[in-house]
């Protein structure tokens, strides 16, 4: 299993991604815990999934 390194579009942190990654798979950035969707595989392209809002303190 070979791996590639990508940069998280949210936090610029390093993401180690293994080759077996598939289209539409959702990855979690270890730096900021964003959910990143694989929107293309060759070359690999990641897109941010929407953030979950907390609804507090009204």
């Amino acid at each position: 299993m070979t791996t590639a390194t990508q940069t998280c579009p949210e936090c610029d942190g390093a993401l180690t991604i293994d080759d077996s990654v598939r289209m539409s798979e959702v990855l979690e950035c270890p730096g900021c815990r964003s959910e990143l969707e694989v929107v293309a595989t060759a070359p690999l392209l990641l897109a941010l999934a929407p953030e979950v809002e907390e609804d507090w303190g009204e």
């Binding site: 809002e53 907390e54 609804d55 507090w56 303190g57 009204e58």
Partner: protein
Amino acid sequence: MIRTAVFGAAGYIGGEVLRLLLGHPETEVTAAVSSRFPGKRVDSVHPNLRSATDLTFCDAEQVPECDVVLLATPHRSAMALVRQWASRTELLIDLSGDFRLKDADAYKHYYGVAHEAPELLDSFVPGIPELHRDELRTARLISVPGCMATAGLLALRPPAACGLIASRVLVDGRTGSSGSGATAGEGNLHAERSGAMRVFAPVAHRHEAEIAQHTGLDVRMTATGVEAVRGVQVVCHTELAPGADHRAVRAAYREAYADEPFIRMVAHKRGVYRYPEPKILLGSNFCDIGHAADEGSDRLVVIAALDNLVKGGAGNAVQCLNVRMGWPESYGLSFPGLHPM
């Protein structure tokens, strides 16, 4: 007796509205609406009301004619209820966020959805007796501000109105867990929320828009959940306008609030409780406000505290009702708070 109906009565704000209306000499509760608990006793959800009432919850469809409707439901659901009830009742008081911002675009920005009744936005009088007492006397639709917003706008309005504030204001809000309502969720589990210092909104908390609207200031708000069930505190950081000084600030507060029944200025040089602190306010309708100067600088720090469910919501609504009805403003709101607590 004035007949009232409370929507969202099984929630935290709804329960507090019930407590206050049941203890009020001029009101009775004719309907306490809950979709989850129709037919159940109100005190099965709010055990503090065990001795106060035998009322049971009812469905929204079963609400009888009444004089005053109070909405204590989440934002978005309030819009629909307003459409339905605005014309059927003498007075409607909305406690949700739906009619607080006058600008539908700001609503969209801060609440993430389009407003569904923008044409009604201008019909609502802000439920802030300290700023809108006269309009409230004849209001038919009242929108009560958010809990931290109330603390923030009451804290900042007097110096802002007198032109004493030069710059952007940073409002640091701290809130207890009842601020997020009675809905169980992972983050509100006792073992997770207990002892928290949870910065849930490092920037851009919704209430900043309300404070800005009522003060004309550039307001930026950060909010943290701290260990408490009830209680809200704001610490506001800003700078004095050129030529302004702390004496002028003090005068502005004195001028604005000297006769206000529920505002107290608190900035003491001695004692344990020198600045506003929520714990001694729990259950009371007071908003305590104090300010401090940073010697040899132009900084102004203003602190305010209140009980989010009382002056930050239900109590403020009842105060507005009292103003509207021409009753003494303290009717139903005489509990002073406890010490120690």
